[in-house]
């Protein structure tokens, strides 16, 4: 089982990396669209890795099922909310920032 433990540790480290990079993206990127992009992608990869890491350690099948369900919910919700926010921002006249232009 030591292999599984090591694998879990590695996956959690990778997840932490993706979460941190998503947050750095939020801090550093110039406009709302790119920030949306960074956050939804990176955080969902991070959550996916976390879920896989915990599935390796799960004690029962119901735990695995719940983990998958949670991930499915977060994925569909964040994808849709990302689209909704982007759509609404565009509708309200926020322009994507282009390199070179203001």
């Amino acid at each position: 089982m030591i292999v599984l433990d090591v694998l879990t540790g590695l996956l959690l480290c990778a997840a932490a990396f993706f979460f941190v990079s998503g947050t750095v993206g939020l801090l550093r990127l110039p406009d709302i669209y790119s920030r949306l992009h960074a956050l939804t992608k990176a955080d969902n990869v991070g959550l996916g890795l976390t879920v896989v890491a915990l599935m390796l350690q799960a004690e029962s099948w119901s735990e695995v099922f719940k983990l998958v369900l949670i991930y499915a919910m977060v994925l569909s919700a964040s994808a849709t909310v990302c689209y909704l926010i982007g759509n609404e921002a565009h509708r309200r006249g926020q322009r994507p920032r282009r390199s070179g232009a203001n």
Partner: protein, 94 residues
């Protein structure tokens, strides 16, 4: 092993804090909620890892509730809670 989980939870909490810095640094109205909404996924991961570290399986249910209600909040924000344009600063010292 539980130290690993707790450490991961601490790192996730720190990323949340880092994201909050963003909320306070710039006034861009929609963005600040964006940060909070995306704590959704960080928060879910935080709860999962913390629960595993403490050995409590019920945190899965809390994480599920969290994920679902963050979705509701996100939709509610875009459809009914988006602040108008213009300066939104209320004068505190009237």
């Amino acid at each position: 092993m539980s130290v690993l989980y707790t450490g991961a939870a601490l790192v996730l909490l720190l990323t949340v804090v880092l994201g909050l810095v963003r909320v306070f640094r710039k006034p861009g109205s929609a963005d600040s909620l964006l940060a909070v909404l995306l704590f959704g996924s960080t928060g879910v991961a935080l709860l999962l890892v913390l629960g595993k570290g403490l050995g409590w399986s019920w945190t899965l249910d809390v994480a599920l509730a969290f994920a679902l209600l963050t979705a509701v909040l996100g939709v509610a924000f875009v459809l009914r809670g988006w602040p108008g344009d213009g300066t939104d600063v209320e004068d505190l010292r009237r």
